[in-house]
Symmetry: C2
Subunit: 341 residues, 2 copies
Amino acid sequence: MKNNRILLSHGSGGEKMHLLIQDVFIKYFSNPLLNKLDDSAIFLHKNFNFAFTTDSYVVHPLFFPGGDIGKLSVCGTINDLCMCGAKPLYLSASFIIEEGIEISILEKVVRSMSKTAQEAGIKIITGDTKVIEYQGRNNLFITTTGVGIVDNKLNISGSNAQISDRVILSGSVGDHEVAVLTVREDFGLNTKISSDTAPLNSLVEDILSATSFGESGNEIHTLRDPTRGGIATALNEITSKSEVGILIYEDRIPIKEGVRAVCELLGLNPLYAANEGKLICVASKDASESIVAKMKKNRYGRDAAIIGKVIASPNGVWISTLTGGKRPLLMLEGEQLPRIC
Amino acid sequence: MKNNRILLSHGSGGEKMHLLIQDVFIKYFSNPLLNKLDDSAIFLHKNFNFAFTTDSYVVHPLFFPGGDIGKLSVCGTINDLCMCGAKPLYLSASFIIEEGIEISILEKVVRSMSKTAQEAGIKIITGDTKVIEYQGRNNLFITTTGVGIVDNKLNISGSNAQISDRVILSGSVGDHEVAVLTVREDFGLNTKISSDTAPLNSLVEDILSATSFGESGNEIHTLRDPTRGGIATALNEITSKSEVGILIYEDRIPIKEGVRAVCELLGLNPLYAANEGKLICVASKDASESIVAKMKKNRYGRDAAIIGKVIASPNGVWISTLTGGKRPLLMLEGEQLPRIC
C-alpha cells in the first residue's frame, strides 16, 4: 500500500476500503465464507443456513433528523441480514462509551434501539459495555451483530445478478448522508431533510412472498442496501462480483429536492451518498413489475422504481444521462463525508 | 442514579457496571434471554441450542507481554462461548480505527487474531471497518461476536451452583492485569509478568469429556472466566445468581510471585485483578477431583486447584484467610485499572 497510515477514506466504502480489506483482512482471515464479502456471511449448521453479520457505528453527531446512533445500529444490522434474504433472529449490542458522557444521553440511545428492535420484531439478547477515559470527544460507539435464518431455497448474493435482470431501487437516494451533513452545518436551507434510517425486514419479506420459486431457482438474485458509498458503490460491487455490467437511467433515480439542492451546493454526488433505509433488488425481468408493486405497498418502498438493467457488456456500471449520453459510474476513490454511519 | 455521567468505574465489571446494566440496558432491552446475564445468551432454534456473545476490546496499550488486543479479542469471545459449555462455531470482528494509525500496526493485530483463531480451530467469517477522525490517541477498538452450539444435555449457568459443590480455579490469578499495568509503567521489577490471554475451548472440552451425564443432570454446574473484576467479582456473580454462599481458602489460590509483588507495591488486590485465560468451574463434589486431574493435563490448566466450596449460608463470598479468620469478599465498587481488556 502506497500510504502506510490509515486515512478516513479507508472507512468510506470506496476503493481504498476495498484495498484494505484485501491487503489486510482477507490476507490473514481468508476462508470461503468470509471471502464472499456479502453483507452477511452464510454458514450451514445441521441443514440450516444461518446469516451472520456485524457493523460498528460511529456516526457523529449521535442524534440527527430522522434517527440517532441507536436506531441506526439496529437498522443497519437487521438490513445486512435481510440482504441475503435472511429472517433476522437475534441481535447483540456492544457499547464503547467515553468517560463523562451523560447517562441520560446513553439512555436516550438505548431507548431508541429498543423501540426500533420492537418495530422490527427482533430481540437484543446479549451485550457488553466498555468505558474509555475522557478524550473530550463525547465518543459513543455501538457495534451490533445479528444472526438470522435463510430459507434453503433462496440464493440471494452479490454474485448472482444475471443478464437482462432488472435493477429495482426501493426509494430516494442520499437522504441519510444529507440529513447528517445538515445537522453538522447550517446551510440556511428551508427544506429539512430526514434520514431514511429504517429496518427493511418487512419490505424484504413482502417481496420474497411476491415471487414464486420455480425449478430454475428464484427470481430475486441480489439484494443490497446502499449505505456508505451510496448506490454507485453498491452497484459497482454487484457488477464486480457477478461479472456483468449494469446500465441505469439517471431520470429514473428518485432524489428529493432538498437532497439535490444540498448536494449541488457542496459538490456532492447523491449517487455516492449513504442511505440507511433503502435497498437495491436485482431480479428477473418477468418478476420485476410485481416486485415494484409489492414494494410500493410497504411504507419503506413507496417510491420504488426500476432504475436499470443488467447487461452482458461492457462490464461495470453505466449511467444513461438526462442529456442522452452514457458515462461510467466508478467506485469512489476518496470519501464524501466521514462518520456518517 | 446518583451520578449522572459515565465514569470509568461503569466499565470495571463491579458494582457500578451492574447498576448501569440494570438501570439502562435491562430497563429497555429486557427479555428472558438477555436477563440471565450469563457470559453468552442461549437461544433455541429448531431443537438446537445456540450460544451468542459479544465483547468490545479497548485495551491500552495495544501490545503487552503475552498478548495484544487482537489475541485478546479472539480469546475473550471464544471463552465467553465456552463458559456456557458451547463449542464455538464462528466469529465476527468489527474494527474502529483512528485516522493516522500505521497500517503495519493494524496488520500485526490482524495477524495475531488469525493465529489465535487458528489455534482455537475457529473461523472469522464476517466483519466491518470504521475509521474515525484523528484524535491523537491511536485508538483501535475491536468488537468480536461469537456463535456456538451447546449440547442439549448441558445445563451450565451462573445460576446453577449447588450446595456442597466444589469451586475449581484453572490457574494463577491477576496475570493479565499486572502484565498490562507493568507495560504502562516501569516499576523496576526484575520479574516479567506475561498476560495469560488464551483460548479455553480445549480446556472446557477436556473437562466436559471427563464428566458423565447421569440421570440427575451434569456434574459441571457453572463455568465463568474471571475477567474484569477478577475472581472476586465472578464468584460474587455466581452467589448472587445461584442464591448460595461460597467459601474460598486464601492459601489455595495460586498467585505468581511477581503478581503478588506488583499488587502489594500498588495496593491492588489480585483477587480483583483481570484474567484472560482462566476459568472458574463449580462442579459436584464427586466429580471435582477428576476435573482437576483433567485440567492439569491441558496446557491452560496446569495449576488447577480446588479453592473452595458452595455453602448454604451465609450468602455471598467468604474468604478463609491464612491467619484463620473469615471475611467477606465483596463486589468491587470502583475500578482497579481502566482499559485492561
